[in-house]
Symmetry: C2
Subunit: 319 residues, 2 copies
Amino acid sequence: MKLATYKDGTRDGQLVVVSRDLSTAHYATGIATRMQQALDDWGFIAPQLQDLYETLNNGKARHAFPFDPALCMAPLPRAYQRLTGAAYANHATLLGDAEGGLVVHQASSDHLLGAHDHVVCANENLGVDFSAEMVVITDDVPAGASADAALEEVRLVMLSNATTLRQVAADVQNQPAVAFSPVAVTLDELGDAWDNGTVHLTVQVAWNGRKVGMCDAGTDMTYTFGQLLSHACKTRALRAGTLVSSGTISNAGFEKNGQTEWPKGYSCIAEKRAMETARDGQASTEYMRFADTVRIEAKGKDGQSVFGAIEQELAPLSA
Amino acid sequence: MKLATYKDGTRDGQLVVVSRDLSTAHYATGIATRMQQALDDWGFIAPQLQDLYETLNNGKARHAFPFDPALCMAPLPRAYQRLTGAAYANHATLLGDAEGGLVVHQASSDHLLGAHDHVVCANENLGVDFSAEMVVITDDVPAGASADAALEEVRLVMLSNATTLRQVAADVQNQPAVAFSPVAVTLDELGDAWDNGTVHLTVQVAWNGRKVGMCDAGTDMTYTFGQLLSHACKTRALRAGTLVSSGTISNAGFEKNGQTEWPKGYSCIAEKRAMETARDGQASTEYMRFADTVRIEAKGKDGQSVFGAIEQELAPLSA
């Protein structure tokens, strides 16, 4: 099923069930009002949401309304935990990240943006970059769970745009905003594309309307979501509503005429600059400016949008 | 006023108001059931809690009951954000921390332990250490707030024991558990002890019943809570219910007969080992073992416990 959270002026919004084709939606009121409620008691609440989802898909939901992604908060608007990995070795290699191996970091989760919310920055001269990422939301994961066991606790999948300030030290200051796709989907919605903790979907990234990335999120995922989760729960349990991000989706380049090429493009500007530096000795692409837009979407085999599109604009902090 | 959260089998517990002397308590039902609710709407809810607090202190609350710290969850049992600083330069110096300066890191907040909850570890051979810390809980803090402005948004103060695995790399794996004092208190409860973003109280630390630390949390706080908050909100707002920890409370040593002495003792074992290494060339104190206990408490000028005591035991993960 597909779930979203509609803006209602509160910090947590209203849980809605969205039809498979993203055309209609229905409030989940009577089942659960907030996404965290559903995650806290998934075994009890999910089947009821699934029933509503099927009724909605059959065109039989009595109070269905047209679904508008612009009215969405993040599917989970604030979370008790967000973890971010660096699952694509090609990204780490391109960015000259010394860490390289399997690492997972705590990230902020007090304000997760909706798909159409602006990215607000006080300063556009700090190397403002987008980053297309795949994210899972888990149920409770016991301490010490194996990759396979942890994977059993994945409940929802969504897309994310993690804005990063490339010229600010990696601290609490360099990730000012993170946004999510309009809907989060259960694993059955992914069909074959969900393969043992990887998501084999092409993630399209457009920057100011120009397609810059078409990376496959599954192919070159060096560490699966199971591995990321197992690493994160090594010494402590993770609790329901934990978000785990893949880090920037990135496909390996290949050699051609003695040069490396990356035909799939890029999911963040820093990678593009690293590619330019490798080829030309210096980066020519600049980072984002105010009013720049970024669009991130993934389509299934049937050509339909799986999660809806993230469509954000970089805006200045108003005085 | 003093607020606590009582265990009730749910993930968020029940908000209770606790008398100044920690002898009695009263459910806040009718005002707010959960601590996050109060933080989300502090201006409206806090005055009502304050009224109940005064009635309770006057012995006139109709359904008051004896307060039992063993029944407490963390005052905020799960939070949307926890940030941890390294506010005491002496701690960083002792531990040879290269960072040194003003840094703030994201920390886990999906499961915050109650004052009497066991610290559960699968393995006691990973350098299990306690750490006595001072923590504030904030209201919404706007992006770019100055230290003074950010300090205006501090709502509650409490003590914390952040368990750290010293032999595990600083990643999501080295902080398996963090516990909090039975009650969180508003700034007026601290009186003169609250001084411009520092808390001038002696924090007593006892390990297996032996007093090992009596550090003043105010004296040597290199970076005040205002500075930690201002640093954290430099590029983004912080939202209501954000926890900010001071990091290990630590007082500077002084020279005597050509050697440095630390008469106030230590708030974490790693410091003790660093002191031994400085004096003897090697550390002789071992880290915690299963069944070890740690007790952390701070008393006011009147000799009364301000936050109640953290009393934890290190326990093995049961099979």
